[in-house]
Structure formats: C-alpha cells, structure tokens
Symmetry: C2
Subunit: 345 residues, 2 copies
C-alpha cells in the first residue's frame, strides 16, 4: 500500500519521466526570492507597443488596423526559412544538424489590456480558428515536420510584451518532447489498440479526482504526474491527431475550455496567472501517426502566492522534477475557484 501523503514519485506516462512529490514540504517558511507582481492597469491601446494595431514594429513594418487576431513572421525568429542544409559529425561525439523553420507571432486581440481569461468566447474562437488555419497552411510546406503552437504569459515566463499574444514555431525536425511523446504513444497504441490518452482520460473521468472541466468535447484536468504546482492538461475526448481535424463544434468547445481554465487560474491568487502553455500534436509530412492524441499542456510557475514561484533548480535540473503539493490538492484548489473572473466579480 502506498501512502500518498508521504514522499513518493509518480510516472509521467507521456514522457516516461518521474516526478518527486513531497506533500509535507509546502509548510516550510519561504525566505527566498519574491517576484514583482505585474501591475494590471494597461491602457486599451499603447502607442509604444509593437503589437497594437497600426503601430510600427522594430523593422519598420506597420501593423494593419486589425480587428480580432493578427499573425506575422517574428522579427527575431530563432529559426529561419532560408537556412541551408548541413550536418556535422565528429566521432559521434560532436553532432550538429542545420535547422530550418518559421517563427510566427499571433496577437490574440487588438486590445492591449486583455488576456485570454478576460476575452469573450467568440474572440477566443477567432484565436482557435487562426491556430487551425496556420497549422493547415504551414503543413503545406513539405519540409516542415512539426508545428509548435504556444503562449508565454507573464513577464515571469519570459514574455517581453504584455499585449496578449502567442507564437508558432514550425521546423524541419522533431523536437525532443515530440520524439519522446511519439514513441510512448506509439508503444501504447500498438499494444492496446487505443490511444494512451484515451485510456488515461477514461480512467480519470471514472475516478473524478483531478478533473477541472468536463464538457462535450474536452476535459481539463491536473495530470496524475503534474510537475508544476498548478499544471493542467486539456485532452480532446475524440482521439484526434491534430488541430486540423477539429470540427466547428470542437473549436467552440476549446474556446470555452480555455476561457474557463484561465479564469480559474487568474482567480487562484487574484492575479494575471503566468504560464507557458501549448499544444502537442502529431508531426506533419512524416507519414501516418495514428497513435497521436491532441492535447495542450499548461505549465504555470506560481506556488504559494502571486509573488512566490516554484524554482526548478539544483535537484530538479540534475535529478528530476520535484513538487511540494500533491496534484490532488492542486486540483481541489483550481476546482473551488469561481468561473467569473475576479476583476468582473
């Protein structure tokens, strides 16, 4: 018998990694770093913001006077479309390969002062539509093998502009996390004839301990192996490989799920809740991937308050992730939040 109130580790079935859970440890006093809490009094339009409609960007381009979303190639892309191929290998010890890619920036709204939890469902749906369109369009380039859609929210998550926006990095090879999740899902699917996340979802829906949102097409929950204090995952009920296959109904449900989840997040500490969040889905132009099951991860750093985060440092970098409250406690805290945003309550 395992006592979940004592230190234990849990398995992340998507990656094969363990997370160390120390349920008793949240009681220790915190004398360490306290983060600045982001001031939350932005104007609807900021003339100095390079993402606001009609403003000029660093390279001189003028943004259109856009009304909902707007997408453009990142002026400081980490990967570039015109990189030439090449590879280097010295005795298998030094190995490198050129990486081609396209990095895009997506503004979620013309309003400088909004974030997803403050937007209405029709506006969030415009973002989901754009994600789908971009995914379809990018996958038409046959050299693109993976499309990473994500958002860094909050200065603490390295976001350099508070105007609501996300990014899409698409590239010519599969990133680490996708290689690992592909292998794990493939192994399970071939053995069991059902996707790993479908089997997992069915079990969670039956146990009902970690479920936050359960609507017609999506479930948001705290995964059993959650690493970050309030980490969640959104899983589609249908076993679908990627966002190109979403129906209109599914897109609307995803918009609703995103709104409710992020409102609950903001309400935990009555603050604009920082996170990095993004989708994992099948590679493209890479053969069939029947094993893949679309999902979206949310990795939020806050632990105790709007200003005290969890540090993934020494032991975590050298050994493996460690958390101080159980995923079940975190789920209870998220579940008891109101679905009305604290600023509107």
């Amino acid at each position: 018998m395992l006592d979940l109130n004592q230190p234990h580790h849990r398995l992340n079935i998507l990656t094969g990694e363990k997370v160390l859970v120390s349920p008793h440890r949240n009681n220790r006093p915190w004398q360490g770093k306290v983060e600045d809490v982001a001031t939350d009094d932005r104007p609807q339009y900021d003339p100095t913001c390079y993402l606001c409609p009609s403003n000029k960007r660093a390279d001189g381009t003028e943004n259109p006077d856009y009304k909902d979303t707007y997408v453009f190639t990142n002026d400081f892309s980490a990967i570039l479309e015109n990189t030439s191929e090449g590879t280097y290998n010295n005795a298998d010890l030094l190995q490198a390969t050129a990486e081609r890619g396209i990095c895009k920036v997506i503004t979620f709204s013309p309003r400088h002062d909004l974030t997803l939890p403050e937007m209405d469902v029709p506006s969030i749906l415009k973002v989901v539509d754009l994600w789908q369109n971009e995914f379809v369009e990018l996958s038409q380039k046959d050299w693109i093998k993976y499309i990473q859609i994500f958002e860094n929210k909050g200065a603490i998550m390295g976001c350099s502009n508070p105007h609501p926006h996300g990014q899409i990095w698409s590239q010519s090879s599969l990133p680490n996390e996708i290689l690992i999740e592909t292998a794990r899902q493939k192994e399970y699917f071939e053995k069991n004839g059902v996707s790993l996340l479908k089997a997992y979802l069915d079990l969670e829906l039956c146990l009902k301990e970690r479920i936050i949102i359960d609507n017609t097409h999506f479930v948001a929950l705290v995964p059993y192996w959650a690493t970050w204090p309030f980490e969640t995952i959104i899983i589609s009920k249908r076993h679908i490989q990627n966002i190109s296959l979403f129906t209109a109904e599914e897109k609307e449900d995803l918009a609703k799920t995103l709104q409710e989840l992020t409102i609950r997040y903001d309400n935990i500490f009555s603050t604009s809740f920082p996170y990095s969040g993004g989708m994992h889905q099948s590679p493209v132009n890479d053969g069939e991937h029947p094993e893949w099951h679309w999902h979206m991860h949310f990795y939020p750093p806050l632990l105790r308050s709007a200003s005290v985060k969890k540090f993934m440092v020494g032991y975590e970098m050298l050994g493996g992730p460690q958390r101080d409250i159980t995923p079940e406690t975190a789920a209870d805290i998220i579940k008891k939040q109101s679905t009305i945003h604290y600023k509107k309550a």
Copy 2:
C-alpha cells in the same frame, strides 16, 4: 557542410537530447523582465541567519561554533528517511512508488559574506573533503541508491539564504537524469571500451575551442551541447566513477578548478554569478558501474547582463532547449575573464 553561424541543433551525448542554437538571435532587443541585482554588502556574521555559527535554526537546534564547514539534515527535507515502502499501479496509467531519502545542508564557510569564488583554495578543499566524506558515509546505507550533491547559488536560482551553502539529496531510487546518463554511458562504454566522457575529453583537448581550464586532474569546458548561455562541465581526466575514489591531489585540483571557474563566472558581469551546479556520478549499492565517469554540471541562467537571464519557457518546455549564442562564443567570453576576482582586482 554545416554553417555554425546559422540555426542548427546539437546533440547532448550524455542525454540524447537536442539543443537548438540560434547564433543570430542575441541581437534582438530585450523589453522583458529585468531581475533585481543582488546587493553584495552582507556582514561577515548575520544574527538572523539560520546557517551562521552558533545561531538557532527554525526547529530550535543551535548550530555549533563551526570553523570551516558544517553539515546537518535539512529541517524541511523533500524526502525522509522513515517513509515506508509502497507502490501503486492502476492499469499502468497511474503509477507511483514511495521514495525514501535523506536531505542534507552543507555550509561552505562560517563567513556569511563569502561564496566559493571568494574563498581560498584550502577552504574550498574543506568543502570537497566534506563532499567525499558524506558520499562515503551515505553510501554505507544499503537502501540509498543515488547521492545528488549540488548547490543553488543566488536568489534567482531559488536559493533562500545567501550564506554560502550546498545540499546533498540521497535517495532510494535513481532520478531521471541519472537513469538517462547511465544508459547512454553504458552503451558507449560497452561498444568502445572507453568511457564516453574520456573519448569526448580527448577530442576537446585536441580541438581546444571550448576549454576553459586544463590542469593536472580536471578540465572545465563549455560542452558542445551547452544549453544554458554560460553552461560548463568539469570532467575528471581519470575515468573515475565517483568522488569516493578521488586522491588527495585530485581533491586539491578540484578545489582549484572550482575557485578559478567561479571567479571567471563572477567577472563576466561583475556580479555574484548565479547558477545551479552539481555532480553526476555512479549510483551506489547498485552493482558495478564501470561506464560511469564523474563530472560536474554548471547551469547558470544569466544571458546578457547581471539582470537579464535566459528564459527556458514555452518552446523550450514544450519542444526542447534553445540558446541564443553559440557555445564557442560563450567559451571565448569565459576564457578572456581574469582569474582575479573583480572585488579584489
């Protein structure tokens, strides 16, 4: 032919992971989070510090009036010695196992105002001696399988007390990173009859592009696959499995290497350079591990200045690590630093 000035990815031979290198990207303007620079005017003794000699800790224990190092069991340990065994498995989808362990805190010096780069070699040698003694002593408990020796330096790395100290977490199972590095080293050693890091070190010593320090027993260098901007690795020239096998000469050389490396770090931005650093070495009480080659990783977060760090966020968490300057540029910057600490220059 691969052009290393264009975006590419490199292989981490110890983990099998790729790191994306974007050499052109360091030019982008930074409008994001700026960290507080730690003030550096601490007293030699702080009556409120729970690590200073003769002071009281949270649980009421009084520290001895220690003269060099001091070690005690963490008052807020993440893992505990008396946890009972147990395991849980629901359909292979929810898996958990109890984890037993001992977490210790090691003060490096009675002086509240010092850090490794400001200590003299004989004092650092006392720390190395203690690491060795603790490793030997902990490995005498047959249920302990791995001993993680590390230091979080600086508030930005989650360190909650500036008094110079490190930690040792020892535990009943092997952490993720050790499982991975063990498998990769074993594969190479069985195939080539030489340790992976010995082969790698020989190649680096011949190329001389990324070497920072090369003394009788140790080499400090920026690994070809460095992830953090100024990441380094110290590798022993002898293929030794763990610190219990270090000779007196090796310990002294390690003390010198640590001093020089951390002085160079502090001099880069004339600031107390934050990092998480720690050793990787063979598991204990786990059979023979001839493949293991002792090394020490340093993961420092600063990128452009004392106040602008690299954020490992959205793409990095969901895809894989990405860096903005090449490891060779980073090595050049570290190499050109003085070996006299900026405060003493």
